[in-house]
Symmetry: C3
C-alpha cells in the first residue's frame, strides 16, 4: 500500500486535515496518510509548489501526493490527476503541482471530471475533503488515472524565477534560493559577499554562511540564528551569484 | 480496525499528543490514530465542541472520537464514554461532546468509573494520557461501553447560541456562523449587507462574501483575505440574517 | 512492529518531517511513525532532552525514539544509536538523548559510523532525512545496534540543573520545574509562596497553584491561565522549594 501525502495551507488549528483523512480512511481503511506540511501560507501557490518539489522524492515509488493550496476552490479552475512513472499527484490546476511535474518524465496529466469518485454533496469551499481526498483514496485502491477524466490541455505552469532570488524561507529562517549551479562559490547581497561552505558551523556562531541545502539549492543561513531576520531577506529578493 | 481520532487543546509543541498515542499503541498496537486538531484555544470548550461537530462525520462508521478540552482535569468533573449507532466518543463531561451528540440518534451515554481500564497511576493533570487514551484503545479492542461504567445522568449540555452570531473563526480568518437556514440570502453586520454567493471567488479579491461552508453553516469570508481581521469580527459577535 | 517516534525542532511549516517519514516508509513500508513533537525551539537541546524524558516511557517496549535537535549538523559531532532493555534511541551526540538515557538501565551506546545504512548522498544540512530516519527504519527491520558502529566513548551528557529552577514552559504556560522530591509542600518565587495542591482547580480561577505534573515534576500553574506569563517566569529562573 503506497503512502498518501498531504500538502496544504489548511493549518492544523481546525478540523480540515483530519476530515480529509477521515474521508480517505472510509474509502481505503488501510491507508497510510503522511503530512508533508499543512503550514504553507494561506493561498501561497508558490510556497506549495516548492514544498512539494523539495519533499516529494523522499517518498517511495507509487506514493500519491495530494496538494491543496487552492484559493480558487469552487470557481471553474480545473482539478488534476497526474501519473508519472514514479508517483501519482492530485491537486488543483493552478500551478501548485507544476514544479514537481517538471522533474518527472512524461507525466500523464488528466483533468478530474468524473464525479463518481467525489464525496457527495461536493462543498464549494472544501474540495480537499470532497474532491482531492476521495480521489487519492480511489487511486490507492488501484483505480487508473484515466478513469478520472480526459487528458488535460495546457495545465497551468508556475514560472520558475528567471533571476537568482530568494525562493522560500524555512522554519529556521534559512533563505532558500533558486540557485543550484555547482560552480557558485558565494552569494552577494548588497555589499556583502557570503561564501559557500560545507555546513552551518563552518563559520562562527551568528555569522552568515551559504550552504548547499537538502533539496539541492543554495541557502543563505546564519550559524545558530534566523538568517532571513538577521539579514533582512524576503521571498523574491534578488541575489548575485559569484563563481 | 476503526480509526481513533484525537481532538484537543494540547497544541503540538510539547509531548502531550505523542504520549497519548504511545499509550494507545501499547494497548492496541494496530491502532490507526488520526489528529482531528490539537490547536483549539486552551480550555475553549465551545471551540472543541464545534470542531468535533464540524469534523466527526467525515470519518467511517465505528470511529472512536476522543476529545480532551478539559480545564477541570483532576477535579470531580465526570468523564464519559458514549456509543451512538455510528460512532463512539470519549471525553470529559463538560459539554465538549454535546453538540456532536445532539446529532446522533439516541446516544448511550455512560459515566467512566471503572478504573480497570485506566493507566496507573492516574496523573491529576493529564487525563488525556491516563484516562481517555487507554479507554479509547480498549474500546477499539471491543470492550463494550457498558463495561466502563453506569449510564450517566444528565450529562452537561453546552447551549447552542440562540441568537445569530459568529461561532468560530478558522485558520483562514473565515467567520463561521451558527446559521444554517437555507433561505438566508445575506448577512448584515452593522451597516454592511453581505450577500450569499456560491463560492469565495464570486466577488473581487479583497471583497467580503458569505458562502455556505463545508459543515453546512454560513460563513463570512473575504476573497483572498482574512475576513475576521478585515471586518473586525470575533466569536460571539451578533449578526442579522436577511431572507 | 514497534512504533518509531520523532522528536525534532523542525516545526511543521516545511516538508522536513514529511521527508523523514517518506525515507522511513521506503525502507520499512509497514512503519508506524508517531510525532512526539516537532515544536521544540530551534536548536534547543535542553528542551529536546526534557520532552523526550517526559514522553518516551508512554510508548510500548521496543519503540524506537528518534530525536533530531541538531544545531551541529554537518560538523564532526558524532551520531548515536542506543539500545536499552526497553527502547532504542537514535540522535546526535549533543546531550539531547542523555536525560532519557540516564533513566535506562545500562544503555548500550554506539557511535553511528556505518555508512551502509544512510541515504546517499548525505546532505550536510539534513541528517534527519539522510541519517537518522533511515537508521531508525533499519533498526525496525531488526538490524542490531552493533551493526551501526562501535561502542561510543564518553557520549555527551547534558548537566541536569543542580539548583531548583524552571526547566520547561509548556503550551499552557505551566512552568515545569526540576523538582520531584515528594516532601515539597510549596514553591517560593520572590515574596510569593505557592502551595502544592492536588489539581489546578483547587484554587480559584486566575490564582497560582503548584501541582505534581504528569512527568513527576512539580509545575507552577495558574487555574485557567498561563502561569509563565502571569507570574513572569522563564526557563532557568531559580526557585525555592519549601518542605
Amino acid at each position: 500500500m503506497p503512502p498518501i501525502t498531504l500538502t496544504t495551507d489548511f493549518g492544523t488549528t481546525d478540523w480540515f486535515v483530519g476530515a480529509m483523512k477521515g474521508v480517505i480512511l472510509e474509502i481505503q481503511p488501510a491507508a497510510c496518510v503522511v503530512d508533508l506540511t499543512h503550514g504553507l501560507p494561506a493561498g501561497d501557490i508558490r510556497a506549495g509548489a516548492f514544498a512539494l518539489l523539495a519533499g516529494y522524492r523522499a517518498f517511495p515509488r507509487g506514493t500519491i501526493h495530494v496538494v491543496v493550496v487552492d484559493p480558487g476552490v469552487g470557481s471553474d479552475r480545473r482539478a488534476l490527476v497526474v501519473a508519472s512513472p514514479d508517483y501519482l499527484f492530485v491537486g488543483p490546476d493552478n500551478g501548485v503541482l507544476s514544479w514537481a511535474l517538471g522533474r518527472e518524465a512524461q507525466p500523464e496529466i488528466r483533468q478530474l471530471t468524473n464525479e463518481r469518485y467525489l464525496r457527495q454533496p461536493v462543498s464549494q469551499t472544501f474540495h480537499g475533503r470532497d474532491v482531492f481526498a476521495p480521489v487519492a483514496a480511489h487511486l490507492s485502491r488501484g483505480i487508473p488515472p484515466a478513469a478520472f477524466g480526459p487528458v488535460a490541455d495546457q495545465p497551468v505552469h508556475l514560472p520558475w524565477p528567471q533571476e537568482d532570488a530568494v525562493l522560500y524561507i524555512d522554519r529556521f529562517g534559512n533563505a532558500i534560493t533558486n540557485i543550484d549551479r555547482a560552480q557558485v562559490r558565494a552569494i552577494q547581497i548588497g555589499d556583502r559577499r557570503i561564501a559557500v561552505e560545507a555546513h552551518y558551523q563552518a563559520v562562527p556562531a551568528g555569522e552568515p554562511v551559504v550552504v548547499r541545502g537538502s533539496s539541492g539549492f543554495l541557502e543563505i543561513a546564519v550559524n545558530g540564528g534566523p538568517a532571513a531576520e538577521v539579514l533582512g531577506l524576503q521571498v523574491g529578493d534578488a541575489l548575485t551569484a559569484c563563481v
